[in-house]
Subunit: 338 residues, 2 copies
C-alpha cells in the first residue's frame, strides 16, 4: 500500500448511501475518526452498529460541533438533496476549516440557482482554507461532467442531449419512493408539487453543462411526469430539464426512472463537428458509482485550492487515482499560478 | 464575441492537419501572426497560398528562429509523430518562452518511454514560463483520457480494454499509407520494422492510462499485423498494445484501421465496480476531433502553470470552453497553491 493516501475522515450521514461510502473509504485504507447523524436512533451508538468494518470506539455524534476537533482531513457528507437543507450542516464544518465532499445534489452546481449562497459558502471556504464540493453520479458525472468531457474533441457544438433510463426494480426503497413507485397519478402530481417526488439536480446538471461549454443560458425549464403501469399505478417518473439559448433548447436532459424500464442506458448525443453518439450500455449504476466517485475524489480534493468547487474544476482523471503512486517520475497535477 | 479569448498563434507545420488546425483557430477568432514549414515548396510563400482564410502578409518561414519574436501567445505545432523528430523543433520555441500545443503523438505522454527527454523539456519549459503539451484524439483522448475519465465512478478497477475500429476509406492519403493500404504483407512487415507502417502513440496511451489510474506497469507490449483483403493486398492494420501489471494484461488497446472496416466505433470496457461498457457509435472522426481538441485547448493551456503537461493534467472540461464567457459569476478553474 506504499504511496496510498490514507485520509482521516468524518462520515456525516449514516443512511444507505453514507454507510456504503464510509465502508468503501475504509476498504481503501482511509481512517474513520468520527461520525455524525441527526437521527436519534443512531446518535450515541457505536458506529460499528451501523457499519461492520468501522473501528471500535467511534460513537455517532448528533451535531457537527462535537466532531470538528477530531483532527479529520475531510468530511464525507451524505444527508439530503437540497442546498437549503444541508447548508446549516456544512457551515460549521467549513468554519472549522474542514474540507467536505458532499452527495447533496443541489451542491453539485449551485452557482446558477443559488448564486448568493454559493458565493457565501465559497468565500467562507476560501477564508478557512477548506475545499467544498458536491459530487455524485447524477448530478456530477453521467449527465453533466461526462457530456462536457465528450465535447472536448468537438467544434461548433449546436446541442447536447443526454438520455438516462434507469430500472429502479431491485434498487433501494428511498429511490423507488422518490420516483413515485406505487402511487396514483394524483398522488404523484401532489408529490411533485410538494417536492417529495422527483429527481433533484437535473437543472443543476443543465447549468453545469452550460458553464462547462461557456454558453450562458436564457432559461432552464423542467417537467416531471409519471410513468404509469397497466393497473393505473405509477411505475416511476419521466423528467426532462432543458436549457435554452434562445427559443430552442441547447441542452436537453431526459431521465426515466421506473420499475422495469426497458433498455436501461445512458445516451449522450452531441450535435457538433464531429458529432458524438455515445452510449453507456446498461447505464451507470448510480449508487455504486456515487460511492466510488466520492471516495476516489478524496486525494484530489485534499490537493485542491480552497473554495467551493465543482466536478468541472477537478482534473477529471484524478477522480480515479485510487492505487499506489505510479513509478513514472512525472510531476503531479500542476497548479495555475493565478 | 465578447469575452472570447483571441490568442496570437504561430502555425508550425502546414500539412493536411496543420492547415485545418490553423483554419479552425482563425475561424474561432485567434490571430495567425506567423507560420513555419520546413518544406522548401512552402517556405517563403504567403501563407494565404496554403490557407485561404489566412491574413495577408504572413510569409511561411523555414526556421523557428525567424518567428519566435512575433509576439505570439502560443504555437500550434503539427509536424511529425516521433519525439526525436520534433524535439529539435520544439526546443528553440520553448527556449524563447513560447507555449506549444503539439499533435506529435509521442509527446502526448512521453514520461514513460522517454523520461529523460520529457524531464529536460519540462525543466526548460518551467524555466521559461512556457507550457508544452501534446494533444490529439488518439493518442490524447479516445483511447486514454476518456477511459481514465470513465473510471471516475469505479472502484476496484481490474482491467481496461479499448477497441477502436476506423474505416480509412475516404480518409487522407498519408493516413492510408501509414496503415499499409495496398501493400503486400511482406512490404507491410518490412514497413512495420522500418517504422513507416503503424499507428504511433498506442504504447503512450497505455502508459497514460496507467498513470491516470496510478497503476505502475511492469511492461508494455505491442503487436502490429496486417488486415489482408481477398486479393492478398493489405487493407490496413490491426495493432494491439498491452500494459501488464504482472502476467496478465491490465490495459489492452486494440485498434483496427483498414479500408472498409466493419462497424467503425470506439468501445471502452472497464472491469470494475460498477462495470462500464461505453461505445461511441461510428467512432470519433480522428482528424476533425484533433483539430477541435487542439484549438479548444488554447485558452486552458495559456492559463496553465508552466511545464510539460499531459491531457490528464488539464481540467478536462476546459477543453470545451469555446464560447463567450458564461454569465454565472463563478470563480474560474482554481489553482493549487503548491
Amino acid at each position: 500500500m506504499g504511496g496510498v493516501l490514507s485520509a482521516r475522515f468524518i462520515q456525516y450521514g449514516l443512511g444507505p448511501i453514507g454507510v456504503e461510502v464510509a465502508a468503501l473509504a475504509l476498504r481503501r485504507g482511509h481512517q474513520l475518526v468520527a461520525a455524525v447523524d441527526i437521527d436519534p436512533a443512531k446518535a450515541g451508538k457505536p458506529v460499528g452498529a451501523l457499519l461492520a468494518t468501522a473501528p471500535p470506539g467511534v460513537i455517532v455524534a448528533s451535531r457537527a460541533g462535537d466532531v470538528v476537533n477530531t483532527g479529520a482531513d475531510v468530511v464525507l457528507h451524505c444527508t439530503q438533496s437540497l442546498l437549503a437543507q444541508v447548508l446549516p450542516q456544512l457551515l460549521p464544518l467549513v468554519d472549522a476549516g474542514l474540507s467536505v465532499i458532499s452527495t447533496c445534489e443541489e451542491l453539485a452546481f449551485p452557482w446558477h440557482h443559488f448564486p448568493a449562497k454559493a458565493a457565501e459558502l465559497d468565500s467562507l471556504a476560501r477564508s478557512r482554507g477548506a475545499v467544498v464540493v458536491g459530487l455524485g453520479v447524477n448530478p456530477g458525472f453521467v449527465m453533466d461532467l461526462l457530456p462536457v468531457v465528450l465535447t472536448a474533441p468537438c467544434s461548433d457544438v449546436r446541442g447536447v442531449v443526454v438520455e438516462r433510463i434507469v430500472d429502479v426494480a431491485g434498487r433501494r426503497l428511498p429511490l423507488q419512493r422518490k420516483v413515485g413507485v406505487g402511487l396514483t397519478t394524483d398522488a404523484f402530481r401532489a408529490g411533485v408539487k410538494g417536492g417529495t417526488i422527483g429527481h433533484v439536480g437535473l437543472p443543476q446538471s443543465v447549468a453545469m453543462i452550460a458553464h462547462g461549454l461557456a454558453r450562458p443560458l436564457e432559461r432552464i425549464e423542467e417537467s416531471i411526469d409519471p410513468v404509469v403501469g397497466s393497473n393505473a399505478r405509477v411505475l416511476g417518473l419521466h423528467q426532462i430539464s432543458r436549457g435554452f439559448l434562445d427559443a430552442t433548447p441547447f441542452i436537453t436532459l431526459d431521465i426515466t426512472m421506473a420499475m422495469g424500464a426497458d433498455h436501461p442506458c445512458d445516451r449522450i448525443t452531441i450535435d457538433a463537428t464531429p458529432p458524438i453518439h455515445a452510449i453507456i450500455e446498461g447505464g451507470l449504476q448510480g449508487d455504486l458509482a456515487t460511492y466510488a466517485i466520492v471516495v476516489n475524489a478524496i486525494g484530489t480534493v485534499l490537493a485542491s485550492p480552497p473554495g467551493l468547487l465543482t466536478a468541472l474544476q477537478l482534473p477529471a482523471l484524478s477522480l480515479s487515482r485510487h492505487g499506489p503512486a505510479p513509478s513514472v517520475k512525472m510531476p503531479g497535477p500542476r497548479a495555475k499560478t493565478s
